[in-house]
């Protein structure tokens, strides 16, 4: 009998594929955002408002994931190119389905590609969809004590969007408490408060995404310049 140390991550291939996707997309200027939350926190509403805000300035497309129906795709269709991904039962999206969805949409050359994940704060945390940024959304009706309950999701996110702020006067949600809880898990979270209904905070969040995209493109340009001199 011979024991061999292999230390093989069972997700290694999936992670490599995600890395390839990530690089391919930014090389042509597309910044990919994976939007996650519990069901009903306001992902689709935010995307519709962002498409409206960015019209004629930045292009975006959406791949929206649900178990069944194309309701979200129908809601977004008036605002931007969108494809519905239906899993039929899987509670999270995985890269192969996302890739097929992107191709089905005609692989659009857009500034921003949003992946609206299945409403679920558990399983999506463990699946890299080739995104450049992961945004976790928490509505004021979800409760300000949720981040600590979903450590992996908040740890792996880059940004927190607190939504439905128009309802804040009616619920015991303390923004500072939610942000502190979230930042105790991931101190580098960029936090935003929005109301899609009242169209507030959308501009600030969009500016953040524009900046993130610009920074990444600048970094790529720098790297290309360095590579060219070698």
């Amino acid at each position: 009998m011979r024991t061999i140390i292999v230390r093989r991550d069972i997700q290694a291939e999936a992670k490599r594929d995600a890395e390839v996707e990530r690089e391919e997309l930014i090389l042509r200027g597309t910044f990919v955002v994976n939007l996650v939350s519990s069901p009903g926190s306001g992902k689709t509403s935010l995307l519709a408002e962002m498409a409206r805000f960015w019209r004629n300035r930045f292009s975006m497309a959406v791949l929206v994931g649900d178990l069944e129906t194309d309701r979200d795709a129908q809601r977004l269709a008036p605002f931007c190119p969108v494809t519905q991904l239906t899993t039929g039962g899987a509670c999270h999206l995985e890269l192969p389905l996302v890739h097929r969805g992107r191709m089905a949409l005609g692989d659009p050359l857009v500034d921003f590609l949003f992946i609206e994940n299945i409403g679920n704060l558990v399983c999506p945390a463990s699946h890299d969809l080739g995104e450049h940024l992961r945004v976790v959304m928490l509505s004021v009706t979800d409760g300000d004590d949720k981040p600590g309950k979903y450590p992996k999701m908040f740890r792996t996110s880059h940004s927190l969007v607190i939504s439905k702020f128009d309802l804040a006067p009616y619920v015991p949600f303390v923004v500072e408490a939610a942000i502190n809880d979230a930042k105790s898990i991931q101190p580098n979270l960029a936090c935003f408060v929005i109301s899609s209904l009242n169209q507030t905070g959308i501009d600030t969040f969009c500016s953040y995404l524009e900046e993130q995209r610009a920074n990444l493109l600048a970094l790529l340009k720098q790297k290309r310049a360095v590579d060219a001199t070698l």
């Binding site: 009998m1 011979r2 024991t3 061999i4 140390i5 292999v6 230390r7 093989r8 991550d9 069972i10 997700q11 558990v122 399983c123 945390a125 463990s126 600590g148 450590p151 992996k152 740890r155 105790s184 898990i185 991931q186 101190p187």
Partner: protein, 115 residues
Amino acid sequence: MHERSVAKNILREMEELGQEYPQGRIAAVEIEVGLMSGVDASLLASALEIEQDRMQPRIDFQIHTVSLLAHCGPCGKTSQIESFVFSCIHCGSQQIDITQGESVRILTITLDDPS
């Protein structure tokens, strides 16, 4: 997460490992389940048991959970993260990188002697 599909992933990796190490049959596998991998070790054991029914002869799966370890940028020390409190236990900094506990890994394989 979905222990049945994780079990299938493990078997797929084992098939590849079997090709990389053709000197003998894989008789035993040691699997490490990270505390923040999203996978439950006992459910994974059950899922592998179910897959075992299709495999002859049996493979001995040793599964154990490993804790979250993180390296601290400012002080350079390693901390064991307890209760998902993400800060260095030595200096208190939150600028830490997780070095263990986020994934499921096949640690070792044990090959039968060729008969």
